[in-house]
């Protein structure tokens, strides 16, 4: 898969190996599996992210910058979030895809950060685990200060922007698109919903509805048309289900196993995994090649 012959063997033997790490038998800390037959998604260009992985799959020539994580391995897909009357909803499926293989089917990609905030992630799952640890540390700090202050969703959003942008500047980006959603209870005029997005380069914005990756194309048109900040919980849930259904129909790397998370003045609630009713027995599906005359 990786054409070793093009590189001098002492420079690099795998996508994640720095030239500065000695790679003889004794020195290799991780054994062989990192060096030779690393499973890389066959065609990096097919991985649906904003920035294409570098063409040399992370290998480093002498004098070039180090590129530690320029290919995602296990990835999650779209995360959706919308505001409603009392707070916010967030939803995504539970797939951890290995390239285009549906490898892990119970990956929780929405985490509760504190009583007012949840974070959802698409992109590299291991990087998200790292981000989860960072947030966990922050919350531990909040607890230890013991002064009654807790972080608001917008603070967590700002923090994640800094983290993502900082890693991008190190040429070592965290390969995620993040959605931060929650309720800010500190405002004078009551609870205030917040939804913000952070890209893998530290780009960020806030809106009444947000989606990552394919959701940007498949779900946000629905949100633009039907989402209102004063919609009821029932309306919001059915809109979210509709959006998830569309995603599942049209996005190859998704599965029919979702979680839905809610933040309101009461706190955070993350649902158990659920499936949506789908309909596939359309007439046009019976003989798929009928309208594709002249192919093979």
């Amino acid at each position: 898969m990786i054409p070793h012959c093009q590189l001098p063997s002492h420079i690099a033997t795998g996508p994640h190996v720095s030239p500065f790490v000695s790679h003889n038998e004794a020195g290799a800390p991780y054994g062989d599996h990192r060096s030779e037959d690393v499973h890389v998604p066959a065609n990096p260009a097919s991985v649906p992210f904003a920035v294409a992985p570098s063409t040399d799959k992370g290998e480093v020539a002498m004098g070039e910058p180090r590129k530690h994580t320029t290919t995602p391995y296990v990835t999650g897909n779209s995360v959706l979030a919308i505001k409603y009357k009392d707070g916010v909803l967030m939803a995504c499926d539970m797939l951890g895809a290995y390239g285009s293989t549906k490898r892990y089917k119970s990956v929780q990609r929405i985490i509760r950060v504190n009583d007012t905030t949840i974070v959802g992630a698409s992109g590299e799952i291991s990087d998200f685990q790292y981000i989860s640890n960072l947030l966990e540390e922050l919350m531990t700090q909040d607890f230890c200060y013991d002064d009654g202050c807790t972080m608001t969703p917008s603070e967590i959003h700002a923090y994640l922007c800094r983290v993502m942008y900082n890693r991008r500047n190190k040429m070592d980006p965290l390969w995620n698109s993040l959605v931060v959603a929650g309720v800010d209870k500190n405002g004078k005029e009551g609870n205030k919903s917040f939804i913000g997005s952070v890209g893998m380069l530290g780009t960020s914005y806030t809106d009444s509805h947000v989606a990552t990756s394919f959701g940007n194309y498949l779900s946000r048109p629905l949100f633009r048309e039907f989402q209102r900040d004063d919609m009821s919980l029932e309306e919001a849930v059915s809109l979210m289900q509709e959006a998830l259904r569309v995603l599942f129909y049209r996005d190859k790397t998704s599965i029919n196993k979702f979680v839905l998370a809610k933040v309101d003045g009461e706190g955070v609630a993350i649902s158990k995994p659920f499936a949506l009713d789908t309909k596939w027995d359309f007439k046009a599906f019976m003989n798929p090649s009928k309208h594709a005359v002249g192919s093979w």
Binding site: D147, C149, S154, E155, A158, Y159, K188
Partner: protein, 304 residues
């Protein structure tokens, strides 16, 4: 100068279990110009008496600093040390704003400053900061007033005074404590200034007749939706004039009040439940720690 063999560095305990360098540092705070802080449910204010080497020849030393839009401090003691802490606090606030796009909670800032105080008492190559801070601020949990101490202790208060002759101010604050909660910002500032005036004393060096003037005091205030404001000079003249004219209207009452405050300041420890740092009661340990401590501690109070 040298009282005993146990006060040459901060990491040596005396046999009585005291660390003299830390106590000396706290003494420096007591000799600094007085500062008063008050807070109620909506606002927090600071008022500080500025000292001057010579009222006619030099300017007054600045001792109230804006840290951020929501935090301000008043310094008693070695102002130069105070400026180090001021720079540190400004840095912390800026860093927090950069990372979280929100103001740093006041309690956290004060705790971090107190930790810096403390570390300076635990390293043989360092010395304690010779300053106490009064820190006011406003954050998501409302207005706050903190005091820090060179020992690394810190306390939150509704009202407090520190520095030279601050006992007189504390007496005023204790007497008026119940009024603070319901009064508005202007009235809170006036309370702070009246409390400060109690501590003006009648010293030749810094003011003629123990009165506040627009030159010798500073006020800082902060509250919900009100960024920190430091008032100096002409900005404060209005308040100073106001309390003086009120005093003139009720001269009899004012005289009685002044008498009372002198009484209590002479009473010393009698005022009771103030934050008790070890040096506040040196008299009790005179026998053990050596009688020289007592005389020394009194003397600089007069020179200050």
């Amino acid at each position: 100068m040298f009282r005993n063999q146990y006060d040459t560095d901060v990491t040596t305990w005396s046999p009585q279990g005291r660390i003299f360098q830390v106590e000396y540092a706290m003494e420096a705070v007591k000799q600094g110009g007085c500062a008063v802080g008050i807070r109620n449910k909506t606002h927090a204010v600071l008022a500080a008496l500025k000292l001057s080497q010579d009222a006619d020849l030099s300017s007054y030393q600045k001792k109230v600093f804006k840290i951020d839009n929501h935090v301000g401090i008043a310094v008693s003691g070695l102002i130069a040390d105070g400026r180090i802490l001021c720079r540190y606090m400004r840095n912390e606030c800026l860093n927090h704003k950069f990372v979280y796009e929100s103001p740093l909670p006041v309690a956290r800032l004060v705790r971090d400053v107190a930790d810096r105080h403390q570390v300076a008492t635990a390293r043989s190559w360092k010395r304690p900061f010779g300053v106490g801070l009064l820190c006011i601020g406003h954050d998501q949990t409302g207005p706050h007033l903190f005091q820090t101490c060179p020992s690394g202790n810190y306390w939150e208060y509704y009202a407090i005074a520190m520095g030279a002759r601050s006992q007189a101010s504390k007496t005023y604050l204790e007497k008026k404590l119940d009024d603070f909660e319901k009064c508005d910002l202007d009235e809170l500032v006036k309370h702070a200034l009246r409390a400060l005036e109690e501590s003006c004393g009648t010293r030749k060096a810094d003011d003629k007749d123990g009165k506040l003037t627009k030159q010798n005091c500073t006020v800082a205030l902060v509250g919900e939706g009100k960024p920190l404001l430091v008032l100096d000079g002409d900005d404060i003249a209005e308040y100073v004039d106001a309390i003086h004219s009120e005093q003139e209207e009720a001269t009899g009452a004012a005289a009685a009040e002044a008498e009372m405050s002198i009484d209590t300041s002479q009473g010393g420890d009698g005022a009771g439940d103030l934050p008790s740092v070890p040096t506040q009661a040196p008299t009790t340990e005179t026998g053990a720690a050596g009688g020289d401590g007592q005389a020394e501690e009194q003397q600089p109070m007069e020179e200050g």
